[in-house]
Amino acid sequence: MSSLALTSRTPNHDPKLVAYTLTALAISAVGIFLVLPLVAVFAEAFSKGPAVYFGTFRDPVTQNAIWLTLQVAVVAVPLNTIFGLAAAWTVTRFTFPGRRFLISLIELPLWVSPVIGGLLYTLIFGLQGWLGPWLDERDIHIIFAYPGLVLATIFVTFPFVTRVLIPLMESLGQAEEEAAVTLGARGWQVFWRITLPRIKLGLFYGVILCNARAMGEFGAVSVVSGHIRNRTNTIPLQIEILHSEYQFAHAFALASLLSMLGILTLLLKVYLEKQSTRRTASPAPPERLRHRDPAVPTT
């Protein structure tokens, strides 16, 4: 929290006017673009009273959307966690040709529009796609069905865990793992007893980010979903449908649920950052690189 009496954190003293102007600009930008819309979501959600608000969650179609979102996240997030761990391990522990390229490739979903991800899967698994006819003969449905939703979500949330872990593991180095090996520990023992305890805060941080994004994903999921009510509508898709049907209070009520997930994620993130700074606050060898703030992926 920035107190009103601004104290300069750097030795070069900017004029007070500059400091106050910049702070005012930052606060009003955050207020207008972030806080105000969030307040509006809740205001709109309760605009027809609490009965309508809570009524939203009694609608079976909406309940189905919430349930489906959970089902997608519960598969996509663990898979991306395991993948993220494996990828971060590979990239930070080994040097091999194409290492940099692999890192860029993992981050690809951050740079391309999620819609493209969805389209790619449609191209591969769709009825008009490469594998579509073959799958259809065997009665396997991926596009416009649950597996497609999971695939699209995995695509979009692919880089989240890795992006947090790579800088963290790079900064921690591997001396402790090496020490464990010279003491007789094997691969999995090193992972469970040394590596995991050291990276667990960062890992958890990556997982909650991944989860927030998995539950809130719209673009990629929208392409592969087909918007079949009660079957392939996740929360964000259901919000859009409610909104386009002019059921604004219901749409915003459901949106408030996602917003709360976002706020919860944010609170957890702040808590985790406090935890990791508390750890680093204790006297430590000066030469040791400390926990770097994990890079926050742009969502």
Binding site: A179, V181, L183, G184, A185, R186, R198, S282, A284
Partner: protein, 245 residues
């Protein structure tokens, strides 16, 4: 246990770190690998420990008569002490020391009472009794280094490898630990190799010194031999000795 290193070469991204190094360490010897930074001394130590592997098949590492060139670090069980201690910061001192015993398969793992006794004995030996329940970050650099040594000794290695053991400590603590290590070595007679860039440290502590430069051994011998007859211009200049040209 004696150590024999034969014709070891190692290349890091086309930069040669070691170039045909051959060396022998007798049982009970205290040997210093001395050289400026980038001379390859740490790489050599890590190859002996099994943390790195030589570049080609010509190079070999023997512990006694057993070839260990390609066996992994956990098979070699050489005690290794890292420059920056590498203590497990999420574990207490007792857990750090017991780590090597607790990761053993059940059949060879000592009973808990024995482990507790061992922790106590080792803490007494490194003159830090009563620190069992502290965490590494609560200790000073010198204390941490001694805990790292206790942890390495817990698994009763036949060889002790120390990478710049006093490099991160201030001058006073350094001197104390140096003396202490010499006494410790006299008591245990453990074959020990330590890496240092500090000539005083090497000449004060070691029975034998190996001087490395640009991945090659420049001279090996007792401190007296080296001081009285520097083998080449590099050794002479490095040690600030006159070299007859």
């Amino acid at each position: 246990m004696s150590i024999r290193v034969q014709n070891i070469s190692k290349v890091f991204e086309r930069f040669p770190a070691l170039n045909g190094v051959t060396l022998e360490v007798k049982q009970g010897d205290l040997l210093a690998l001395l050289g400026p930074s980038g001379s390859g001394k740490t790489t050599l130590l890590r190859i002996i420990a099994g943390l790195e592997f030589p570049h080609s098949n010509d190079g070999k590492v023997f512990f006694e008569d057993r070839e260990v060139t390609w066996s992994s670090a956990y098979e070699r069980r050489a005690g290794f002490v890292f420059q920056h201690y590498a203590l497990f910061n999420h574990m207490t001192i007792a857990e750090n020391i017991a780590f090597g015993l607790r990761v053993r398969p059940r059949k060879t793992r000592p009973p808990e009472a024995e482990i507790q006794k061992k922790i106590k004995d080792l803490l007494a030996m490194v003159q830090l009794p009563g620190l069992e329940h502290r965490f590494p970050t609560q200790l000073s650099g010198g204390q941490r280094q001694r805990i790292a040594l206790a942890r390495a000794l817990a698994v009763e290695p036949k060889i002790l490898l120390l990478d710049e053991p006093f490099g991160a400590l201030d001058a006073k603590v350094r001197k104390e630990l140096r003396k202490w290590l010499r006494e410790f070595h006299n008591q245990t007679g453990l074959t020990t190799i330590f890496v240092t860039h500090d000539q005083d440290e090497a000449f004060e502590l070691a029975d034998h010194i190996v001087i490395l430069h640009e991945g090659k051994i420049q001279q090996a011998g007792t401190p007296h031999e080296i001081l009285s007859r520097p083998a080449n211009r590099f050794v002479a200049e490095f040690l600030d000795l006159p070299f007859p040209s």
